[in-house]
């Protein structure tokens, strides 16, 4: 029995689940959720089987063939795939379980779980894809399922707008990605990833940057990050799964998969985009009030880290840990993937935790209206704190510390300026997270909803606990089973370079500064934002997210739509009115003119005859 059957199974379970739900159980949410969670469990099991029991392999079957354009549907399982597969399957399963509790009373539960299944299908396809085209197909599908789930609350106009925005912004990124694919095909003559990696043909900076466009869109890099915070309109488990742990990381995964297509110039651009994203998002997070928005900006910021890591690291080739040799795993890839993995744990945890809070607080999301939740929801509090500690990179004991250090170490070696920027990013992270933590959990409740909050049931807390474990221990190589270890180990290794100590000191200082500043600055369970009263202009800029959304809205409403209407109007006037009606009118005028020649008198008709004779004569002697 071929290994590919398991891969097929991996795709088949969620697809079947989605199909069954769509066709038979649209109205029975309980069954639907059961099917979906069952599918997630099967996925996890199958994924574990692939990871632990199966060797790396590649499987391809011809899908479409026109002339020399040949796409294969297939699976490319290597270490990178396995790591990503683990993250997706594991977090996916936990989120499914959590959703059972979170969505319990929702009348349209079936649609939610169907959507989750479709997402799992798409995401797994993306991870397994063996060619750029297949990857792109699932890439788009992932975007589509994200679109569906963001817009889950159908009657909320903001949800509709957010989902639309997410899709379109992603498409802008895909615009570059697709051109990149076209160029890759033109340059290499194939789109199969392993064939590409062995290809002799030279890559160009343009190709690299175009492929990176896809990442910019999907992973919320500057300037296309605007959709991600808005995507929080979706149910919170969706945010945890799609917009924190897996889908948004797909951009990073794409970079890692196609690292061999990059050039030094391209990497440089990628690095600075990542760094800028990390900083801008970090600053923005400081002034947000919505708990999910803060986490979303935090995600953007962390994704910036990963992208920056990739941009930094691929300059340093760190051996070849891949048995198939089809992807060159470099330091950057390792660091990025390491951080991706740990981030998946703690960010999923944080989102689920916030989901737990929101659920308990009856959909209250403003942190300034919470407060004092630590006592009401102890498990949530402690697990959330664990995630938070990991995110801010609490020294030594948390996963985030190790993975972030790997990135910083890389930066220290490669690019000093980037290094300092990233350290500043780390300070910001600690600052805004502690702000959130202190205001939401400590102090006393600020609203009715927070007052009546209480701990949620087991289905919601168990996933939190499991993720908390991952958040703490995920930074240690020994935590991972053998099969997942190669890349993590490579990433972790970065921390043991020559400048190990310096980097660690910077990192700890950043942690202390950020944490301390926030602790001092914000009161426990504050009712309003102190920053607003202290530095109003700064707060305004930050709260307005550096005006990105304003600019986009202005562009869409004032530029794009007006241009569209103007073009439409011009076209109507020019074609329909001037030319068409004009020609019709002209013909009509001729018609009226000719009509008026029929005056009805024999006499005038006789002149036609003499005129005709003259005309004939003229024609015959060639006067015309």
């Amino acid at each position: 029995m071929g290994s590919e059957l398991y891969a097929y199974g991996l795709l088949a379970f969620p697809l079947l689940s989605a199909t069954f739900i769509a066709f038979f159980f649209r109205r029975s949410g309980a069954v639907a959720s059961g099917i979906s969670v069952g599918a997630a469990a099967l996925i996890l099991a199958t994924a574990l089987h692939i990871i632990f029991r199966l060797e790396n392999f590649e499987y391809n079957v011809s899908w479409i063939e026109i002339a020399n354009f040949n796409v294969e549907f297939g699976f490319l399982i290597n270490d990178l795939t396995k790591l990503m597969l683990f993250v997706v399957a594991f977090v996916g399963f936990l989120v499914h379980v959590f959703s059972l509790g979170y969505m319990k009373d929702d009348p349209n539960k079936a649609r939610f779980f169907g959507g989750l299944s479709i997402f799992m299908f798409s995401m797994l396809g993306l991870v397994l894809a063996s060619s750029l085209v297949t990857l792109f197909i699932f890439w788009e599908l992932v975007g589509f399922s994200s679109y569906m789930l963001i817009g889950y609350y159908l009657d909320k106009p903001s949800a509709a707008a957010a989902s639309k925005k997410a899709f379109i912004v992603n498409r802008v990124g895909d615009f570059g990605f697709l051109i990149g694919i076209v160029m890759v095909f033109s340059a290499f003559g194939t789109l199969n990833l392993s064939e590409l990696s062995h290809s002799e043909a030279a890559t160009t900076t343009l190709i690299g940057l175009l492929l990176f466009c896809g990442t910019v869109g999907k992973s919320g890099q500057l300037p296309l990050h605007v959709w991600l915070p808005d995507a929080m309109e979706g149910p919170t488990p969706v945010s945890a799964l799609i917009h924190a742990a897996t889908m948004v990381a797909a951009g990073v995964f794409l970079l890692c998969r196609t690292g061999f297509l990059m050039t030094a110039d391209a990497l440089n651009v990628i690095l600075w985009v990542g760094v800028a994203t990390a900083l801008v998002a970090g600053f923005t997070a400081i002034a947000q009030r919505d708990i999910k928005k803060i986490l979303a900006y935090s995600t953007v910021s962390q994704l910036g880290y990963m992208v920056a890591a990739f941009g930094l690291g691929s300059l340093v080739a760190l051996g070849n840990g891949d048995s198939h040799g089809d992807a060159i795993v470099t330091g950057g890839v390792a660091a990025a993937m390491f951080h991706l993995t740990t981030h998946a744990f703690f960010k999923a945890l944080l989102f689920l935790g916030s989901g737990s809070i929101i659920h308990a607080c009856h959909h209250e999301q403003d942190i300034f209206r919470m407060g004092g939740l630590a006592k009401k929801m102890p498990i949530t509090f402690w697990t959330f704190t664990a995630g938070l500690l990991a995110l801010i990179g609490t020294p030594f004991i948390t996963a985030g510390f190790h993975s972030k250090d790997a990135i910083l170490a890389l930066a220290y070696e490669q690019n000093t300026l980037a290094f300092y920027c990233l350290v500043l990013g780390a300070i910001l992270t600690a600052f805004y997270m502690v702000r959130l933590w202190k205001i939401a959990f400590l102090g006393s409740p600020k609203s009715e909803n927070a007052e009546h909050a209480s701990e949620n049931g087991l289905v919601m807390t168990v996933p939190l606990i499991l993720l908390a474990v991952g958040s703490i221990l995920g930074g240690f190589v020994w935590f991972y089973p053998e099969a997942l270890r190669p890349i993590i180990a490579l990433g972790e290794e970065l921390n043991h370079g020559d400048s190990h100590t310096t980097v660690m000191i910077y990192s700890i200082v950043a942690w202390v500064v950020g944490l301390g500043a926030a602790w001092v600055f914000y009161g426990a369970g504050a009712a309003d934002d102190k920053l607003e009263s202290v530095a109003k202009p700064l707060h305004a800029v930050l709260a307005e997210k550096f005006y990105f959304d304003r600019i986009y809205d202005w562009y869409v409403a004032k530029v794009q739509q007006r241009v569209a209407v103007a073009i439409h109007f011009t076209e109507q006037i020019a074609l329909s009115v001037l030319i068409i009606r004009g020609m019709a009118g002209f013909a009509g005028l001729i018609g009226i003119g000719l009509r008026s020649l029929h005056v009805g008198s024999i006499h005038s008709y006789v002149y036609w005859f003499i005129g005709g004779l003259a005309l004939f004569w003229a024609l015959a002697v060639g006067l015309f």
Binding site: H603, Y607, I610, L613, A614, W617
Partner: protein
């Protein structure tokens, strides 16, 4: 001698024709037309087409013009004084006439009219017998059709003027 006759009758015919065109009174016009027809009949004689000259007098000057006069009298049409021919009509007609005269000149300047056989051929219009032979052999079919033509003309005239049916 014949030359003089030719000129007399041609001028008479043309003058009569102009008379038709210009006479204000319709009866006078008809009279001029009869003159023209008679002059033409004379020209036919000059051209030795005696039979046709006779027919011309009988049919045209006789039957047709009498019919015309009869109708003119019957209708008693008077050209009203108010109805003067407008300047435009005059101008247009004269231009038209000018075009026609160009045509006349063109016809008469045609070389083939001036090219003649060495001798004037024998007059063929003289023999009534051969006329008859031709008519009932070569031209038998047109002859028959003409017969039908006269028939439908007759029936048509009846249909156009007979009293409406009683019912």
């Amino acid at each position: 001698m014949t030359d003089i006759f030719f000129y007399i009758f041609s001028i008479a015919a043309l003058a009569g024709a102009f008379g038709v065109v210009f006479s204000r009174n319709t009866v006078n016009g008809a009279m001029f037309l009869i003159g023209t027809f008679l002059s033409m009949a004379s020209l036919f004689v000059l051209l030795e087409a005696y039979f046709l000259a006779v027919i011309q007098v009988l049919v045209y000057a006789g039957a047709v013009m009498v019919l015309f006069l009869f109708i003119i009298m019957l209708l008693d049409v008077k050209e009203s004084a108010a109805r003067k021919t407008s300047l435009y009509t005059w101008a247009a007609s004269v231009i038209g006439f000018g075009i026609l005269i160009v045509g006349v000149v063109a016809i008469n300047s045609a070389d083939s009219i001036r090219e003649k056989a060495a001798s004037l051929p024998e007059a063929t219009g003289v023999s009534l017998k051969s006329f008859g032979y031709e008519l009932f052999t070569t031209y038998l079919l047109p002859m028959q059709v003409t017969g039908f033509l006269l028939l439908i003309a007759m029936i048509g005239v009846i249909a156009l003027s007979k009293k409406a049916k009683a019912d």
